[in-house]
Structures are given as structure tokens and as C-alpha cells.
Subunit: 363 residues, 2 copies
């Protein structure tokens, strides 16, 4: 088992990463020091409950325990579904000393975190992320929230967990496409800020894809550590946090064009990262060979490396222009200065972007 | 105009109290320094909009302005009505640089504050409270939130305003019962922590009730200042904040017994303060003459000084036992050590409480 401390002063917390973390009472000591009262509410969804709820429950003997089981899917990440969590807490008369546990992927984590931020103006919570994406993304940063029909993650709060428990065994039941989508974000960390990790991935991507326990534990630890570094740097207002969006502006355009749910978020980000790498190459930052390496690694991870077949360069430009990250009408992109170092800019030759899009789009 | 600075380190803000504060553009400089972006959303309700919206709007010339008008009443202080605020903000594409302005009483203030806390994980907000109760209560403390069918104020956040603008002219349209309910909280501040103010009130309660501008301005300033002191002391975890609940445990029992809305909150608190004073007297803390003075002042403020006619001492005990402030089964009460100094205790002779209730209840 590896441990990572996310350093946020008074709000610091550990992330435990390993195998067999929630098989029975023997591991209960990983959770118990982080639960201050007697009341605990596990929030999970219909897919995860039959798989892991019993195991997590077995770690919590002696607590006054309730469970809230939400429907599974991004479309349920809403204020009205959130009410089910508040209903459960209030019916069981949970006080402000309760602890909420999020058991599931990013949707469960974001919703439970926001419920914990808002219930009686703030109670404790614990993250047990069960998808690779949520393990490497939602574990660090404290962003919680729900969607609104007019925008994703528009209602929320910053709320840090007391502890994050990442059991890589839960990845054994994760469908292949979702696993790959998580790997896209893992590769992203190497690209944006960690050249050594990127080189490790080049040698070990096969082991990661085979879900080798040791390789996965290392890759998740390193990803969380990289994200923690970026987020901590940004507290000094360097604006560095934006580099976490490598591939996301192109990716969001793809998601919007195809309709949410058609492409997984990580898949759209993968194609978007290829486009960002290609643009970085054409602007003279990285070499052609390096772009090819990125493409190869994403291919090995069974991820898409091209935009959707029916998407035109004009559609990209249009959708990217309404992305919320556009400031004052200027398109800002995350590009690679080199492998392992990203930067954000709105100062680039627009014609190079247009040409790249025309070359990469088939229509 | 008086100014009070609420000192919260980085989150400090001023409260401006006076007459004619939002009559036209000349006073715009009271607001403008506290609005950082170009977008402003005024949130108000159907009752207040026709009275003051136009005036406040006139202070905001040049801003990109929207208005959200909510239905009036505690029953609309819900998560689903809150969605109307988010709808308005998103439809007008308000970014995280928007500023929300709460124009109304406590319900509008609490809801708008919570909307500001949650919109895009936190935006600025400004309070323009229009009822006496919200001016002396919600202006300080940062508590925001909505009700849940199973409990009041169960969903919310701590979120401080950038500035609070209290125009006492808005009290001219406040119905008499609501004005008196606000005066109950004003008297409360004198009783719990400010003997000088209490004595001032003894000499000036008639001027306050006549809504004399100078007296009102002073009373509101002093109340906010007292609350700010109590809240600041409590940040040092002295537990002092609980004294703000003088009369509230008895008062909540009255509200629950009569059904919410029958007695105004301030009316129930007034009768509750008489009961707390009476109990404090019987326990030897304050004199009989002092209880009589409290009763006289509340009478002058047209407030009830006795529990509801149909309420028995057994009903009080039962309802007080399920109050959320009961810890570990022990009834905690706020009592008066002397006029101008309250304390919280669960150590008192229970038979004295029972006798007091039997004597004060008519059935």
C-alpha cells in the first residue's frame, strides 16, 4: 500500500492506495481515525452497491450506519437527485457530526462531496473512488458539485475529504472502455508536468493496461501526486491549474458535437491531447517523433487518436468559441512546451490552428 | 449614516446603516466598490420588488443586470425554488465574476447567500435587508441556506457578503407585527450581552416603536455590533454563540405547537425570553423587578409576554426535548446571569423549570 499526503494546511488529508483495502474489519483502521462521530452515511449507486457496499459496510461495524443508493449516470447528477441524500440524512436524524462516504465514480464523489459541504452547512466526508478516472482526478482538488440543465458542474463547493481510500481491486470490475478513459488522464499527468512519469509509462503502458497491481498502484499514486502539486502551485495564483485541461478544449467540442455519453470524457480528452500535441509540434514546441510517441501510447491504451469522422474544422472552431474557458473572446489553449511541461496561451498563430484542424478533420 | 466593520480578516466587510441609501445614482458609490465584475443579479421577492427594485436598479447603471423575483414566504425557502436563481444566472450566462444582490428579508437573504456560495462554487454577494429582523440578524454571521421538509436551514453554507446596505426607509412599509418581531431580537442583544444598550432601550423604546430614524439607526447599528462581537468571540470556540438563542428553546416549542406561521418567530422569542427571564429569577440570578422591566419593554413593543393559551407545561417539556439543541438528552437553556449577560447551562434544578412552566401555562 502507498500513502500520499495532500498538503493543505489544516485541511490536509491522506490518500491510501493499494489492494484489498476494504476486505473486512481488519482494514477498518484505515477509516476509523477519520470518522469523528458515531453516524456514517454511505452514498453509492445501483451499479456499485451490489459489488462493494457489503465490503465497505464490514469496515464500519459499531457505527450508526445508513446507505443512500442513487441511480447510476451523469444525467442524475442534479440538485433534485441530491435531495435523496438530504432526505436519507434527515430521516435518520444525522447531526452535524455525521460523516458521509462516497463509494463510486466521479458522479457519486462530486454529489456526495457537495452534499457534505451543504448538509447543516458542512459535515465530514470520505472518498472511496471505484473508477480509475475518479481515483486520479476527483481524489485531489476538493471540487464538488452537480450539473444544471444549462451547464455541467455549475452548482457546487470546494470541500476537502478527510481521507481518500483507493482500492485498485475495484478496477477489476471496471468495463474496458471506462478503464481506458481513466488511462487517458494518467497519461495527461505525464505530458503536462512529469516527464519521468511519462517515460515510465512508455515502458509500462502494457502492464497498466493488463491492470497489473503494482504498476496500477504506482501510476495512480504518481497521478494523484502530480495533481496535488499542480493544485498546490495554483493556490499561489500562478494559474498553473489550467494545464490540467490539456486536450479538454478540443475534447469538450467533441463531447458537445457527439452528444454527452457517446464518447466518454477520457476518450474525447485522448483525441484532444493528440490535437494539442499536433498543434504544439506545428508551432515548433515539440518534435514530430514525440507526437508519434503520444499517439502510440494512446493507441496502446485503446483510446481514440482522431476526432469523430463527421466533425469538421468549422464545427471545432464554433464549439470551442463557446467553451467556458474562452476569456474576453480570446481562445485559450493548453499546449506542450515539451513532453512533461504544458503551458496556457492565447498568443498563437490562428492560421496554424485552422490548418491543423483542416488536416485532422475528414469532412 | 453609520458604518460598522465586521472584522473577519480577509473576509471583513462593512455594514452601512442610514436613511435614503438607495435613492438614486448619487448613492451608487456605496455599492460599486464592492462589485468586481460587470454582471449583477438582484434576487428579491414579489412583495419587495414593486417597492424597492426600481430604486436599487437605479444604483446600478452601467452594469449587465438581471433580476430574479421569487415568491414570498418561508415555504418557498427550498432547494427547488433556489433553482430559479441558478436558471436566471445561467440563462444570462453569468460567469464566476458575477455579484448577487439579496434585496429582501431573511428568506431572500439566506437563499441568495446560499446561491452565491454554490454558483460555480462561489461568487460574490451583497445584502440589502429590508426587514428589521434580517437587518439585525442576517447581516452578521454568514449563515446561508434553505429549508428541507424535515428541518429548517438544514442545507446551506457559510458565506460572507462583500457589503451590507441597511436603509431604514425600507422599514416604513414593514407591517407592524413584523416590525415588533424584529424589535424582539433587538431587545435580545441588550439582554444577552449589552446592559448599556438595554438601558438605552428602556429610555428609547417609544422612539424605536415610532420608527424614529435616529433611534432606529442607532438600535440597528448597536444590534449588529453586538452580534458581530458574539460571533467573533465564538471563533475562539468559547461556545458563546449559543447565547444568541435566548428565548429560542421556549420559542421553538411555541412555534412547533402553534404551527409555523401562526406566531412570528420574533413573537415566539419574546414570550420565550419572558420565560427565560422568569426562570433566571427563580434560580436566583436576576431580581423580580428586572423581570418586570423586561415584560414591560416587550409589552411596549407590542409583543406577546405569555405562552399560547392552549399550551400546557407538559407540551413545553415534550417539544423542548426534541429541539435540536438538546445534547445527549440533556436540556440546555440560555439563562440570564444578570441583565446584559447571558450564559448557557444544562445544570439547573429541573423542578424549578417545571414549576415555572406550570405557573405560566394556563392549561
Amino acid at each position: 500500500m502507498l500513502e500520499l499526503k495532500v498538503d493543505l494546511g489544516e485541511r490536509s488529508y491522506p490518500i491510501f492506495i493499494g489492494s484489498g483495502l476494504y476486505t473486512g474489519n481488519s482494514r477498518a483502521e484505515l477509516l476509523k481515525p477519520y470518522i469523528k462521530g458515531q453516524q456514517v452515511a454511505i452514498v453509492t449507486n445501483e451499479t456499485i452497491a451490489p459489488l462493494y457496499l457489503e465490503q465497505v459496510r464490514s469496515m464500519l461495524e459499531g457505527f450508526e450506519l445508513i446507505e443512500v443508493i442513487l441511480p447510476d449516470g451523469e444525467e442524475y447528477k442534479s440538485l433534485s437527485v441530491l435531495e435523496q441524500v438530504f432526505d436519507g440524512l434527515l430521516r435518520a436524524r444525522h447531526t452535524r457530526k455525521t460523516t458521509l462516504i462516497a463509494l463510486g465514480g466521479g458522479v457519486v464523489g462530486d454529489m456526495t462531496g457537495f452534499a457534505a459541504a451543504a448538509y447543516q452547512r458542512g459535515v465530514d466526508f470520505i472518498q472511496i473512488p471505484t473508477t480509475l478516472l475518479s481515483q486520479v482526478d476527483s481524489s485531489v482538488g476538493g471540487k464538488t458539485g452537480v450539473n444544471h440543465p444549462l451547464g455541467k458542474n455549475m452548482i457546487g463547493a470546494f470541500h476537502q475529504p478527510n481521507v481518500v481510500l483507493i482500492d485498485i481491486d475495484s478496477l477489476s470490475t471496471l468495463p474496458g472502455r471506462e478503464f481506458s478513459a481513466g488511462v487517458a488522464e494518467v497519461i495527461k499527468y505525464g505530458l503536462i508536468c512529469d516527464r519521468d512519469f511519462y517515460q515510465w509509462l512508455q515502458s509500462n503502458i502494457d502492464r497498466v493496461m493488463a491492470r497489473d497491481q503494482e504498476a496500477l498502484t504506482y501510476a495512480i499514486h504518481r497521478s494523484c501526486s502530480d495533481k496535488a502539486w499542480v493544485v498546490a502551485e495554483d493556490e499561489k495564483e500562478s494559474g498553473l491549474r489550467a494545464i490540467l485541461n490539456l486536450g479538454h478544449t478540443f475534447g469538450h467540442a467533441i463531447e458537445t458535437h457527439t452528444g454527452y455519453g457517446e464518447w466518454l470524457h477520457g476518450e474525447a480528452v485522448a483525441a484532444g491531447m493528440v490535437m494539442a500535441a499536433e498543434l504544439s509540434c506545428r508551432l515548433g514546441h515539440i518534435g514530430r517523433e514525440e507526437v508519434r510517441d503520444v499517439v502510440d501510447m494512446l493507441k496502446t491504451a485503446c483510446l481514440p487518436i482522431e476526432p469523430p469522422e463527421d466533425m469538421s474544422s468549422e464545427q471545432f472552431i464554433e464549439l470551442m468559441s463557446i467553451d467556458k474557458k474562452v476569456l474576453d473572446g480570446k481562445l485559450r489553449l493548453v499546449l506542450l512546451e515539451q513532453i512533461g511541461k504544458a503551458f496556457v496561451t492565447d498568443q498563437f498563430d490562428r492560421s496554424v490552428l485552422d490548418e491543423m484542424l483542416q488536416d485532422m478533420c475528414r469532412v
